[in-house]
């Protein structure tokens, strides 16, 4: 029983990174992906901030959905309530970090306001609800909650991986000499598209590997 759980968690985690990568496969969070990927240290900082915010946002919104929205048939309020909660959370994290962990605030602080209502963070919370609320009915809340959190962590790491990979691609693009009409954002979008296509090759890979191991 335990090993099947670990296999499920591992499948969720790695397929969120490779197969369902939020940036390169589901095309969410493109704004920071293109905006902050110019420098390696800022893309790493942004990626780390996204991981933290995604996990905490899912940790709060998932029970909110199950015990408040679903319980009282208020599903249509999902978007507005999630945005509200995530915005409050990010502000709270920022204030707390500034007070208690100034070093971390120095490295993550500037990116936190950027992801307050980022579609990537909102997407993780909404899709986690979509994918795992059925499990609540079948296996109980605990397991569904754990799977949703693993999914959020995987999505965050996937974002970080996409940022770091694209930062490397971009440093080459900056040094290249494209035709005048392609300079700047156009060539960046073209290279983002090619990076994204390479991630399509991971489809079905993770399930097979995990099944082979367990």
């Amino acid at each position: 029983m335990m090993s099947t759980h670990i296999a499920t968690f591992a499948t969720i985690f790695f397929s969120m990174i490779l197969v369902n990568n939020y940036v390169l496969v589901q095309f969410l969070g493109i704004c920071p992906f293109l905006g902050v990927s110019k420098k390696l240290d800022s893309s790493a900082g942004m990626g780390a901030a996204v991981i933290v915010v995604m996990v905490i946002a899912t940790a709060v919104t998932f029970p909110l959905q199950i015990f408040l929205l679903d319980a009282y048939n208020l599903g249509y309020l999902q978007t507005i309530i999630f945005i509200l909660v995530i915005a409050v959370l990010v502000q709270l994290i920022e204030i707390t970090l500034k007070k208690y962990v100034p070093a971390l605030y120095q490295s993550l602080g500037v990116y936190l306001p950027l992801i307050t209502t980022n579609c990537c963070v909102l997407g993780v919370t909404i899709l986690a609800v979509q994918d795992y609320s059925a499990i609540v009915a079948e296996y109980g809340f605990g397991l569904a909650y754990a799977e949703a959190l693993v999914c959020a962590a995987g999505a965050g790491v996937g974002f970080l991986v996409a940022m770091l990979l694209f930062c490397g691609v971009r440093s080459r693009v900056e040094a290249a000499n494209p035709p005048e009409s392609f300079k700047g954002l156009p060539i960046t979008l073209v290279s983002a598209a090619i990076t994204s296509m390479s991630f399509m090759g991971f489809g079905g890979l993770v399930e097979n590997i995990i099944n082979a191991i367990f």
């Binding site: 009282y72 409050v88 709270l92 204030i95 500034k98 007070k99």
Partner: protein, 282 residues
């Protein structure tokens, strides 16, 4: 309860709860920040050029208040910003230097080519291929990395060599950092002669590569009335603490390698314009 009213109540309660939490958090976890930091940030130029050596205007303002950093480091803000900061900090006067970027090369079209470079059109790329395309291993490559680094449109490539527009230059040092040949240096703001050559080769070799290269003949050293010039590594060097800007060296230099800092580089064949010969310190 009416489901619409209930929905409104839920959203309002959640919103209010979030607001109350944030207000309490910002009260109890407030971090005291010196109000002078915000005031000083206002005084600075806001270009975030990094010329002061800090990670942006706000960071520099913080360094002034908390670590007592020098108040005159904001080059784009100039004297105005430094005076305003001194007022806020309650400082008396400071000994601020006023420096502007100067290209220590007048080569360009006066300098020979070793090969025809067709690669990526940046100095950094050209300099890394076989020692660079120009015959001189020390001079300006003229592909404009400095032009792209300059946020104030103050440095341009003219006749194959970078030239600083001293009226626009704010002294932020951004161009000196990107130049792969390190031929851009900071020089005093007053009109002074500058040795516009960085070539450390022996004179005979310089003669073959560049028309306006310093051959270290020493004419300027012997003729300077203030003993402000000396030779180092086969290049003449001007000591600006002694130079009074008389311009003797500009007219004496047989290779026209010493020029007024703000002048446009000339070919050796062109005569020195009269207004540049007679220029005295203002």
């Amino acid at each position: 309860m009416n489901p619409i009213v209930f929905a409104i109540v839920v959203v309002v309660v959640l919103g209010l709860a979030g607001g109350v939490i944030l207000v309490l958090a910002s009260k109890f976890m407030a971090v005291y920040e010196d109000p002078r930091i915000a005031q000083i940030t206002e005084c600075l130029a806001g270009a975030n050029c990094g010329g002061c050596g800090y990670a942006g205007c706000a960071d520099y303002a913080k360094a002034i208040v908390e670590n007592g950093a020098p108040t005159f480091k904001c080059a784009p803000g100039g004297d105005k910003a430094a005076d305003a900061i001194n007022t806020i900090m309650g400082n008396a006067t400071d000994d601020r230097p006023s420096l502007r970027a100067t290209v220590i090369c007048a080569g360009g079209e006066n300098c020979g080519k070793r090969f025809d470079y067709q690669g990526i059109q940046t100095c950094a790329a050209a300099a890394s291929i076989a020692g660079g395309p120009s015959a001189c291993a020390y001079g300006c490559l003229g592909l404009g990395d400095c032009t792209r680094a300059c946020k104030f449109d103050a440095i341009h490539v003219i006749n194959g060599v970078a030239v600083v527009d001293r009226k626009k230059c704010t002294g932020c040092t951004a161009c000196t950092v990107v130049c792969p040949r390190h031929v851009i240096q900071m020089k005093p703001i007053a009109p002074q002669p500058a040795v516009k050559c960085s070539n450390k080769d022996k004179g005979a070799l310089v003669n073959k590569t560049c028309k306006v290269g310093c051959i270290a003949c020493g004419l300027c050293v012997r003729n300077c009335p203030n003993q402000a010039i000396f030779l180092k590594d086969n290049v003449a060097v001007i000591d600006y603490t002694k130079c009074n800007g008389c311009g003797t060296c500009v007219s004496k230099c047989p290779k026209k390698a010493i020029q007024w800092v703000e002048g446009v580089p000339r070919s050796i064949d062109a005569p020195v314009p009269e207004h540049e010969v007679l220029k005295t310190r203002v």
